[in-house]
């Protein structure tokens, strides 16, 4: 069984008389044959990784690999600890935490994709802030992750969680909706209220484009994670107060998918349009990737130009967007031997194991209960 609609999820939870988190746990156990204890233990480890990233990014400034962003999680955390903030410090904490995790991610540090790495700050942001509030036990937060998982499954199966396919709304929007719903259940809300929180949070994210500067998961991804953590908390409180999503949450999810399909390809994780295409965005790309990349871009069509057209599929017409079409034209010449293209210095090599001949290193380990057969591509 796979979750595809919120109304079904809510009905099943109500029929069984359980929370959405408990339903997720039951179904995961039924589907994978793993015990509930085993699943909870593994989910608790995911939470630990999330918390480690939060602590790391607030304790010290974490700079990203490109050097164009970083240190903001630490900066905001120090600010709120100093007092006198406009937003209540306990709330602002969620933003600081979300920024911190996103910076750890951009620095190629260890995080948990929730549901993706680009949106990995929001859920740990709100949940670790909830832990620090002292009102919830760690076990409650692990259950909240299961609520979020069930909501994420619905969105992933009926819409998309890929920025390349559906824009930022599919990543940050989905994460915000998952976090809002998870908070509602954490605070004792009903499955219906969870649904409305998802609808409210996702509505506020519709249309959000994926326009990362230089194709890096930094600008605007980090800031969006930070600010959307507060959106999630507020949407949760609204739902708990009885505010309803007049457009049914399932319809909001469906239209998010529709909007994503209508987005021009330049605004779907290509690093071409939007903020990536601004003069400063282009200058930063140039700064990070150097002259060579800039020349290549100039030769292949000026960035930002084809961004406006949005005619995905009509190959050959616009520079780079045409690559997704069905033209059959040869691609641009390959770029070989790209060593040294990175603007950052090489680091120490530690692993030598990859040189082993195969057999001993088969990754045939524990697969985490993923039984999902992939029936169709997520084509756009």
């Amino acid at each position: 069984m796979a979750f595809t609609h919120l109304h079904e999820l809510i009905r099943m939870a109500n029929e069984r008389g359980v929370s959405i988190a408990q339903l997720m746990l039951d179904v995961e156990s039924e589907q994978t044959g793993r015990s509930k204890e085993e699943i909870l233990e593994r989910m608790a480890r995911q939470f630990d990784v999330m918390e480690e990233a939060v602590r790391r990014g607030t304790r010290e400034p974490v700079m990203t690999r490109s050097g164009i962003t970083g240190g903001d999680g630490h900066r905001l955390f120090a600010h709120l600890m100093g007092g006198g903030t406009l937003v209540h410090p306990d709330t602002l904490r969620a933003t600081a935490y979300a920024l911190a995790v996103s910076e750890v991610n951009a620095g190629m540090g260890r995080i948990v994709a929730t549901p993706t790495a680009g949106s990995a700050g929001i859920l740990p942001g709100v949940l670790v802030a909830a832990l620090d509030s002292g009102r919830y036990r760690r076990e409650d937060l692990v259950m909240a992750l299961l609520t979020a998982a069930a909501l994420g499954l619905v969105i992933a199966n009926s819409a998309s969680i890929s920025g390349a396919a559906g824009g930022c709304q599919a990543e940050v929007g989905s994460a915000t909706a998952m976090a809002a719903g998870a908070l509602v259940e954490l605070a004792g809300g009903t499955p219906e209220q969870v649904g409305h929180a998802v609808g409210l949070a996702l509505k506020n994210s519709l249309g959000l484009v994926c326009d990362p500067v230089g194709g890096l998961v930094e600008i605007p991804c980090i800031v969006r994670n930070g600010l959307h953590a507060i959106t999630a908390m507020t949407a949760a409180d609204m739902a708990l107060a009885g505010v309803r999503s007049v457009i049914p949450p399932d319809e909001v999810i469906a239209v998010m998918h529709e909007i994503g399909k209508d987005m021009p390809v330049s605004l779907r994780e290509t690093g071409i349009g939007g903020l990536a295409g601004t003069p400063t965005g282009r200058a930063l790309r140039h700064k990070v990737f150097g002259e060579r990349a800039a020349r290549r871009n100039a030769g292949a069509g000026r960035p930002g130009e084809q961004g406006r057209s949005g005619e995905q599929g009509r190959a050959g017409e616009q520079g780079r967007a045409g690559e997704y079409g069905r033209s059959g034209q040869p691609g641009r010449p390959g770029e070989q031997g790209r060593s040294g293209e990175y603007g950052w210095p090489p680091e120490q090599v530690r692993a030598v194991a990859p040189c082993r001949e195969n057999g001993e290193d088969a990754v045939a380990g524990d697969v985490g209960g993923g039984r999902g057969g992939v029936e169709r591509g997520d084509r756009t």
Binding site: A117, V374, D378
Partner: protein, 222 residues
């Protein structure tokens, strides 16, 4: 459905910065290595769509390379994949190509080891999940999330019946199955996903019982 497990959404644990462009790319590389069945010596990555546009920013190149080197998605050596590759004597190249109507995050990987070569077309479909679209030019789809047997054989009457009898007799349940052949009676490949971890005895039994079965690979990635 594409996503069934709670850990598809709350996971994977990975090094950043992108689940589809980094973690998914590592998984694709892992699959290629397992399909090849030996240490790769030469590998060519042809990237399309969003992969092609943003691969350097997301570390997709390092991730693909780390994947064929056998590193897992949460390995802190992924940023150093180029040095690891150099240490292993692995030659590699990246190219941007037009692969036609494919998912925006798609790569065609051609890998060669000491004795074999393979070509895998795979997409990263979001949240770190991946899907192989083609294997050696044949339209065979699999994700590697379940234990997956790849059987290289000749197209012969009764082949599948024999395979399923052996699987059944050994207590395996077939979760998904696909067979493609180049021509009638010619070279064929069967991809069979099972629910249970594959034991060596099964591989031996298949090899011993089916003369037209030339080779077996096991793919299973976290």
């Amino acid at each position: 459905m594409k996503y069934q497990s709670a850990f598809d959404i709350i996971g994977p644990v990975m090094v950043g910065p992108s689940s589809s462009h980094t973690a998914g790319a590592v998984r694709i590389g892992n699959i290629v290595r397992q399909v090849l069945g030996e240490a790769p010596r030469r590998v060519r990555f042809e990237l399309a769509g969003s992969f092609a546009e943003t691969y350097r920013g997301h570390g997709t190149d390092l991730a693909l390379l780390a994947g064929v080197l056998g590193l897992p998605t949460d390995s802190e050596d992924i940023p150093n994949a180029e040095q690891v590759a150099a240490g292993c004597g692995l030659a590699y190249e990246f190219a941007k190509v037009n692969l036609g109507l494919v998912h925006p995050n798609t790569v065609l990987v051609t890998a060669a080891g000491a004795s074999r070569e393979t070509r895998v077309l795979a997409s990263s479909i979001g949240g770190g999940k991946v899907e192989v679209q083609e294997l050696d030019g044949l339209p065979l789809k699999f994700s590697g999330e379940r234990p997956t047997l790849i059987l290289y054989h000749e197209d012969r009457k009764g082949f599948l019946a024999t395979v399923s009898r052996i699987l059944d007799g050994s207590g395996y349940n077939i979760a998904r199955l696909a067979l493609e052949r180049r021509m009638r009676g010619g070279e064929a490949v069967t991809v069979c996903e099972v629910d249970e971890p594959v034991q060596d005895e099964l591989v031996s039994a298949l090899r011993a019982s089916i003369p037209v079965l030339h080779d077996i690979r096991l793919v299973y990635v976290e």
